[in-house]
Symmetry: C2
Subunit: 563 residues, 2 copies
């Protein structure tokens, strides 16, 4: 074995890949200060691909922040890709597998009508997954535009079977398995049931990489993340998208190693002001030579400086006790922000493309209500100095945190969950779970609501709440009619509670079916009398249920009708 010293590797036999993920083009696109950040980092990423003269660029999903990006966002993305990825330099990596199996259309660098020098291969993430009846994603657009090779799209939710993209350069052979984002619960379930297959060519020695876009952190709750232990051990490397914390270190490895290594590139732009996003951001250069590989972390030099600090007020002497408490706290925090601004100077790379005005986030634990104040007004002190002057501070009550730990929580503060959560479902679920029992959702299943809110916010599916609630309402009515429980209000309430728990524990596929059925029913409604009509069924239930023991059975009609 020559070993992995790239200086002695023949360039003609070394596959060079630039790896990046979670570029989130269009994040805060309309923000006067931060609007360009996502595009600047993307441009740097592609410029690194050119600088290191790679054979291909591999993206781990969430190239776009919105499932329906603005025209301007797609436009800028296309401009950047055209600038860096088209050109005369020949692509020297050969595609051996049948491209119609893996890709949404033929790969751009084999298209005789296009001159591609740096092919991008990308899976989709949870932000840029397909939308609409036709299931078209923004990556499909870039694909038909000849700018991105989109792979790993999977639509059968009962079984996943991944056929690898097979690539060769000299004697180095790469099998690239791509799996675009699936709901974590669904995929985790499929893994448990051994319904995720990765096809292998046992005849040859392949260097095997899997790229996926899923929850990796265990704190997302049971069944809501993918366990590394469930991934097949024949894999040599995993490129893990979706997690925004960059966990990327220089590494060397060998195909015969006992276990795969995980590359977690993290995002190229901070889409939340969480501690993990304040880590230095990178993309990676992966070089594969026959059995060996070397991974080099490439620091991004154009990412806006971001300083994250935790301040526990009780741990500090705020000085003079004569002064108004709130003002003392403000003065202290202003000083902390100013220190952070100075500290942020150390994060300037000297690259002229880097935005210099920093992001500052202080996560402040306070003790008493008299310590708090108007955060927006506080932020005005830093307009022009801090890019996120409107939300520098995250205030959490220290006592409440302690009480929560001891199980004596009186009140739930949404902000606590916002700070800790990385996606809207986790946030909502954590929030609902934290509510005292008497304030939890009585009739609506948490699962339904979290998914609907996710689709509403991230996928911009504007009618999903109406669809989901409407579908659930029908389900309630059907259940009640079928079970003949309409004589006793207690029985109705019990029956609906059972239904709620059934739905909440439902297999994700069932839930998807419930949601998917909704639009069709709406269309049918106008011309069919088979469904119980709204007025009859609803009046029957509402007449008895409303106001009874605080059970929320059905909202009044206008709520359902709002489009």
């Amino acid at each position: 074995m020559v070993g992995n010293d790239s200086s002695v590797w023949s360039q003609d036999e070394t596959i060079r890949i630039l790896i990046a993920s979670d570029i989130h083009l269009g994040y805060l696109e309309e923000h006067p200060v931060r609007g360009e950040d996502s595009f600047i980092a993307f441009e740097e990423t592609l410029s690194l691909a050119v600088q290191y003269d790679v054979d291909l660029i591999l993206l781990g999903g969430d190239l776009f922040h919105h499932a329906k990006p603005s025209l301007n966002c797609i436009y800028k993305c296309m401009e950047i890709v055209r600038k860096y990825c088209l050109g005369d330099k020949p692509v020297s990596i050969e595609l051996l597998s049948d491209q119609t199996i893996n890709f949404s259309r033929n790969v751009n660098y084999e298209d005789p009508n296009l001159n591609v020098s740096y092919p991008i291969l990308s899976i989709h993430g949870n932000h840029d997954d397909p939308v609409g009846r036709e299931g078209i994603s923004s990556l499909d657009l870039l694909s038909t535009g000849g700018l991105v090779n989109y792979f790993g799209k999977w639509t059968d939710y009962t079984h996943v079977r991944i056929s690898p993209v097979l690539l060769q350069k000299g004697d180095s052979k790469l099998a690239l398995y791509g799996l675009s984002h699936l709901k974590d619960q669904r995929l985790s379930h499929l893994f448990q049931e051994k319904k995720v297959e990765m096809l292998r060519d046992e005849q040859h020695d392949w260097f095997n990489i899997l790229v996926l876009h899923q929850n990796r952190a265990e704190d997302r709750g049971a069944g809501n993340f993918i366990k590394e232990a469930e991934l097949p051990t024949f894999l040599d490397l995993i490129v893990w998208g979706h997690e925004h914390d960059c966990e990327l270190y220089d590494m060397k490895g060998n195909r015969e190693a006992d276990h795969f290594n995980v590359i977690q590139p993290g995002s190229t732009v901070a889409t939340s002001l969480a501690a993990g996003e304040a880590r230095p951001k990178h993309c990676a250069l992966l070089q594969i030579h026959k059995n060996d590989y070397i991974l080099t972390a490439l620091p991004l030099k154009t990412v806006r400086p971001f300083i994250f600090k935790t301040v526990v007020l009780s741990e500090h002497n705020l000085g003079d006790e004569d002064v108004n408490e709130s003002e003392k706290v403000q003065e202290y925090l202003k000083q902390k922000v100013n220190e952070a601004i100075v500290e942020a100077q150390n994060l300037l790379s000297g690259d002229p493309r880097q935005p210099t005005m920093p992001l500052i986030r202080l996560s402040v634990f306070y003790e008493r209500e008299d310590q708090i104040f108007n955060r927006a007004r506080f932020g005005q002190n830093f307009t022009g100095q801090v890019a996120n002057s409107n939300d520098i501070l995250l205030l959490k009550r220290e006592r409440k945190i302690r009480e929560k730990r001891q199980g004596h929580e009186e009140e739930v503060d949404v902000a606590d969950y916002v700070a800790d959560s990385t996606n809207v479902e986790t946030l909502l679920r954590a929030y609902y779970d934290a509510l005292p029992p008497e304030r939890r959702l009585a009739a609506l299943p948490v699962q339904l609501m979290t998914e609907a809110v996710r689709d509403f916010t991230i996928k911009q599916h504007e009618e999903i709440l109406r669809f989901a609630l409407d579908a659930y309402r029908r389900r309630c009515i059907t259940t009640l009619i079928e079970s003949n429980t309409d004589t006793d209000i207690e029985a109705i309430a019990d029956r609906l509670r059972v239904l709620r728990d059934e739905i909440d524990a439902a297999d994700v596929t069932q839930l998807a079916a419930l949601k998917a059925a909704a639009p069709a029913q709406i269309v049918i409604e106008g011309s069919s009398d088979e469904e119980p009509t709204r007025s009859e069924a609803e009046t029957a239930v509402r007449g008895r249920g409303r106001g009874a023991r605080g059970i929320y059975i059905l909202p009044p009609p206008p709520f359902w009708e709002v489009g």
Copy 2:
């Protein structure tokens, strides 16, 4: 002079252009029957370009129906263009002018990274004009994707100066002037003030074509269309987009003719069920050889058959007087629809791509209320037979039409205007104008409302109504404060009437400024005290004005606040 017999023209010196307009991709995209129509016609158009082996394809605007097309719509468009317009065939027409002047980016067929065989040149129309802060249109996307060459974008509303695209093939020289859509009133005004310039190269003999996308029909109202007489006479041909009626005939001509000819391709898909859209649809082949040209109308074979009929019930004997009048009318109209369905068979071209289920529109004049009935239920008789079964009938009251002609109109029926109008501004203006004086808008300027509604419906600028009303409210308040008219309700009403008329008669540029100012003011509002605050100023005016003599001064706060 050889004269215009194309059979003796040298192909190396003949410029061949395929001309089409108003393709409206994405029109009724979600319609289960008609959803593909716009794409099918576009595909046929490009296939004709290939069949006739043209040098370029010239589009007259409104390639897209929506200013923000769906991902699926852009995707399909890109697929179709890639299929027909990329390839190895060299483009044999030479671009002589500086492309940075005319085009949004370099022309695709000179890009060394793309193989373009049939370059598309397009201006934008009123449907696909630039949107958002950055002014990006769907054509910019196609342009950066290397699929369309977008020209004629003009942003200075005080002066238009068009520099031609200069093209040459052998000794045939073409100067192509492109002017993307401007508001008709604005452009008409600029023409009147002689502020529309077309730059000319007097040194050489050019064949001069202008392509524009404006109202041509005089029935759009004074100042709301472009007069042919105002277009410069040095032009040889005008390609007139926007008007959907195809007015396209075979013609021959010569550069030394006294006057230009007008080519009005019409739309390739019916976007309204008006009589004009039922005319046979075409695109055109233009061949230019030195001084001469030949235009050939090419019938489109994939356009859905459309039969339009006018039925005046009083002119027909509906038979048996014992039967219920409404049923007699329905039976008669069913018979008419069935006749139309048979007639539509004659419009089938035999092309397998053509959708066969016809569009049928009966414009029915009835005399008495007892003759009418539920149109949707009537349409159910033709589900599966007529593509627009939901809106086959347009019912207009004959008596009312007559009264209107005699000036005795009692009531304004919006449907009358919908039927006759081709755009929302014309519709609204006609509607407002037709109202009796006491019911006309008292405080709001018609101009402001029509433009705002246009932007809301066509440009999908969802906040424009709020912006426009908010801007106007501020203007009212400022005017009242400045003029010290707050002591007398009559004076306030008068002052506001004057303001309304001022705005209505305002130069279009002023109006644009009023609208454009609105978003900025909204942003400023939170952090500035310079503007009169909502609560003070609004209460002052509303307290006196509300209810007084039916004058609508200001709506209550919730209306303004709705996002």
